[in-house]
């Protein structure tokens, strides 16, 4: 390993800044002078500052470089996602600020930042040791965050459930990684691992089995069938902003790592097998997620199943294993993260105002809060994949990637699923737009920070859906890291 030099430190600048921000939040909290939501503002300002500084100083070239002895990759793919995680965290904090028992607790922000740090390392991980470390760093704070409302049974249950499934998945994945390590003759770095597995003496079926076990770990992380069942319960029980964070940043982190592992660490000769497995997983995930979402009456559970469905669409782009596929995955994740944050933000407002996240409480929203109704229209139609909202083009790109890779059957399953999706998203809009408000309907209170966050997100949803060129360009730039 080479000696510490400035290039290595610069590559990690965003992470170091987040670490510094954590220290700042901790000291400020302990000093006891800053009270209430000002800690949240500190976190938001800090995160935005990290994004601005990083973009202006340490932007890598597309192919990037391996740093820290090859454990980390500072390239376009990791950079785009690191920035996205920071933005998603900042937006999550907007929704947290006014939640009692959450927004005024320094520990909350600290754990959130720790998780973000882990996700950023996940995006960069370039060997199996870093992969595992980063994944645990990202996930362990989330167990605590999901169970943060210690006084509420559902929240504690959510935390425990997530912990149990998470621990199991980690163990399984670690087992698979150790098998790969053995089969490859002791390689840890992704590219070397692929090389080692291609030349291994071990029987093909054993290698494939190990690959499948690793994929299972990822399936848990991105909530794909058959490792999805934690998601609805955890989202429902966890504090709503944390559910938002889990379903967006955490899922995206799982995907970016999955993409890197599948395309770099798995030997290309095995593509037909794991490709088929992933294709089947994509089909099952989108079908099950969308079909189960049909019967949900609680918005958080509905969004949980819908997010399982979206994982299926994104997997389709991974299966394509082409430059267009990876571009589509990046674009989809960008759009999906920001849209889903908006959707959960709306649910958080509803929950604060009415005390429940049941879809029925949206009744008459058009009278009670016309602006929130418009935000709902944008967010849910974007999730449904209707133009001019961004979700439409995101879907078109993944369908295109599938058709280009000769996976027309998967594209047909996906488009039919998108129709199922349209059904339940429209039902939500119907409640908001058609039904009259009940006589005793609680007034909808939208706090100032949430208004700003939702406004920014809604504008983004429309802009990215019409002027998609620049965002697609980012996707291509990120994809160039693996497909030069």
């Amino acid at each position: 390993m080479s000696a510490l030099n400035s290039a290595m430190l610069l590559a990690l600048l965003p992470e170091l800044l987040v670490l510094a921000l954590m220290g700042l939040v901790l000291i400020t909290d302990l000093s006891g002078r800053v009270r209430g939501r000002n800690l949240g503002w500190l976190t938001i300002v800090g995160l935005v500052a990290v994004v601005l500084i990083s973009v202006s100083t340490v932007m890598p070239d597309a192919a990037g470089e391996a740093v820290w002895g090859g454990t980390l990759k500072h390239d376009a793919l990791s950079f785009v996602f690191r920035m996205l995680f920071l933005i998603a965290a900042a937006l999550t904090v907007f929704f947290v600020l006014d939640v009692p028992g959450l927004g005024d607790r320094g520990a909350f922000y600290l754990l959130l930042l720790a998780s973000v740090l882990g996700m950023m390392l996940m995006a960069m991980a370039n060997d199996i040791i870093m992969l595992f470390l980063a994944m645990e760093t990202a996930t362990i704070p989330l167990y605590v965050l999901a169970g943060f409302f210690t006084g509420r049974r559902e929240s504690v249950e959510a935390g425990f459930k997530y912990l149990l499934f998470g621990a199991l998945a980690s163990g399984v994945m670690l087992y698979g990684l150790s098998l790969l390590y053995g089969f490859s003759g002791g390689e840890v770095e992704f590219a070397a691992l692929a090389q080692g597995l291609a030349e291994t003496q071990a029987p093909t079926w054993a290698v494939l089995a190990a690959l499948m076990v690793v994929l299972a770990g990822f399936a848990f992380k991105v909530a794909a069938v058959p490792f999805h069942f934690w998601a609805p319960d955890v989202y429902q029980g966890a504090p709503t902003p944390i559910a938002a964070f889990l379903s967006t940043a955490s899922k995206a982190a799982g995907f970016v790592l999955l993409v890197r592992v599948a395309l770099v660490a798995f030997p290309s000769a095995t593509l037909p097998w794991w490709g088929a497995a992933l294709a089947a997983m994509a089909a099952a995930t989108m079908t099950l997620g969308n079909v189960l979402a049909l019967t949900q009456t609680d918005l958080k559970r509905l969004l949980a199943y819908s997010s399982i469905g979206h994982a299926g669409y994104i997997l389709m782009g991974v299966v394509a294993a082409t430059k267009l596929g990876l571009t589509a995955v990046v674009f989809y994740l960008l759009v999906y993260m920001l849209t889903n944050l908006a959707a959960f933000g709306i649910v958080a407002v509803l929950e604060r105002s009415t005390g429940s996240s049941a879809a029925a409480h949206l009744a008459g929203l058009y009278k009670r809060s016309p602006w929130l109704t418009l935000a709902t229209l944008a967010a849910f139609l974007s999730l449904a994949g209707v133009p001019p909202f961004a979700g439409f083009v995101a879907k078109v790109w993944v369908f295109m990637a599938a058709v280009e890779a000769k996976l027309e059957w998967l594209a047909v399953i996906a488009v039919l699923n998108s129709i199922v999706g349209i059904y339940y998203y429209l039902v939500v809009l119907k409640v908001a737009y058609e039904y009259d408000p009940p006589a005793d309907a609680a007034p909808i209170v939208v706090s100032r920070p949430v208004v700003w966050a939702l406004a920014v997100l809604a504008v983004f949803i429309v802009v990215a859906g019409v002027a998609f060129g620049p965002w697609f360009g980012w996707g291509q730039w990120a994809a160039a890291a693996l497909f030069p």
């Binding site: 016309p370 209707v386 078109v396 295109m400 998108s418 737009y433 060129g469």
Partner: protein, 492 residues
Amino acid sequence: MNLPLLSLIIFLPIVAGTVMLLWPNASRDAIRRLALVTATITFALSAWLYVAYDFVAGGYQFVEKYPWLPELGISYHVGVDGLSAPLILLTGVVIFTGTLVSWNIDRPREFFGLLYILATGVFGVFAALDLFTLFFMYEVAVFPMYLLIVIWGWEKTREYAGMKLTLYLLVGSVLALVGGLAMVFAARDNLGYLTFDLLELEKAGLSVGFQKFWFPIVFFGFAVLGGIFPVHNWSPDGHVAAPTAVSMFHAGVLMKLGAFAALRVGVMLMPEGAKFHLPWIILLTLVNVVYGAFIASVQQDFKYVIGFSSVSHMGLVIMGIATLNHDGLLGSGVQMFSHGVMTALFFAVVGMVYDRTHTRHIPSLGGMMKKLPWAGVAFIIAGLTSMGMPGFSGFIAEFPIFMGVWRYEPWIAIVAAISIVVTASYVLRVAHKVFFGPLPEEFKDIPDINVFDRVALVTLVFFLVGIGVFPHMMVPWIESGVNYVLTILGGA
């Protein structure tokens, strides 16, 4: 021409619609005035575009092309030819008259906002010369319909019918989308680059095997919206449940969207597939024409009669396309416009009667001619058009279709002609029951229609009679469009 006339027509409605949606505090009158001004300007611009289209030169005119996503060969590319120019005009007519008859609608801000967003989608599809633009606009046209039906529709069936309609149309369009994407990649193998441009895809020389496989998927995907049998079922339910202006828009314009896109993307990009598959598809349209007419004739609900008559007449449109010969295509082109105006007129009259009597049950109605003479006369003119009487646009449209079908296969024309008789019988029966005979006691005091309604009726009647008397108002436009389609069919 420097003025981007076509883009102006396409985007004016969505801009106005967005302004309305983003203006929650606007007064009812401010919104209605904005709506009327928008609709009038849009109508005027579409009429200007129609008149300015040079049918002697033919081809695509008012073309605008800007790169949208050059990496994937996607551009915003629009233009009109002889087939789409009348449809742009039709959309302008229906948006204008639909706005007039909706003057007293509840929640006008959201109603006109959504309706105008939909109008942009419709204009966009008719003008699209890029496959991506076409799909984008197509989906924009479908989703506002759901909210328009469930919020303002007929309480008994609106939720069911709105969802049914939306899902039917979207299933069709997404399957067509997969077909479209497959086409783009197949064309890339021949052209060497990725493009969504319809004019380039026409020349891509897709293999015959490819066309045979994908043609039915793409054609049916769009023809669902055209109401083709056996996937026509959403249409009567949807049209009955929808509020008046939305029925006018849906039956009058959106169904043409389906037929037009099936022609534009299905037939024109995959002519070999069309030649292979249309011989059996034409039999389905025969079911539309005859069965639709019979079903219409046994309805007791005023609006369902019109709903099923649309199924029958749209069957004629697709049948004309399916003949792939000059007469059939020419008739289809005229029929798209003629049926659009005629159905809009029918639904407008039905809405006027229902708003005053609160019933659509035909046996309970009667004597409306005494109370609503304007509506009665308009209904009779629409009825004569729908029977295909000479002197009205329906004749100009249906006569060539039957000629085309006769050339193609005489027995189909003979069977299809049954529908003319059946149509005449139900139109006369309904006109007699609703507008003549004794006026029921409870309707003695219903008010006559207002001046907005009259302007709407006169505008619609003008086109039906105008084209019937002076076919030259429309036929040369369609003729130039059909010639282009025929060169594609012959050249392939």
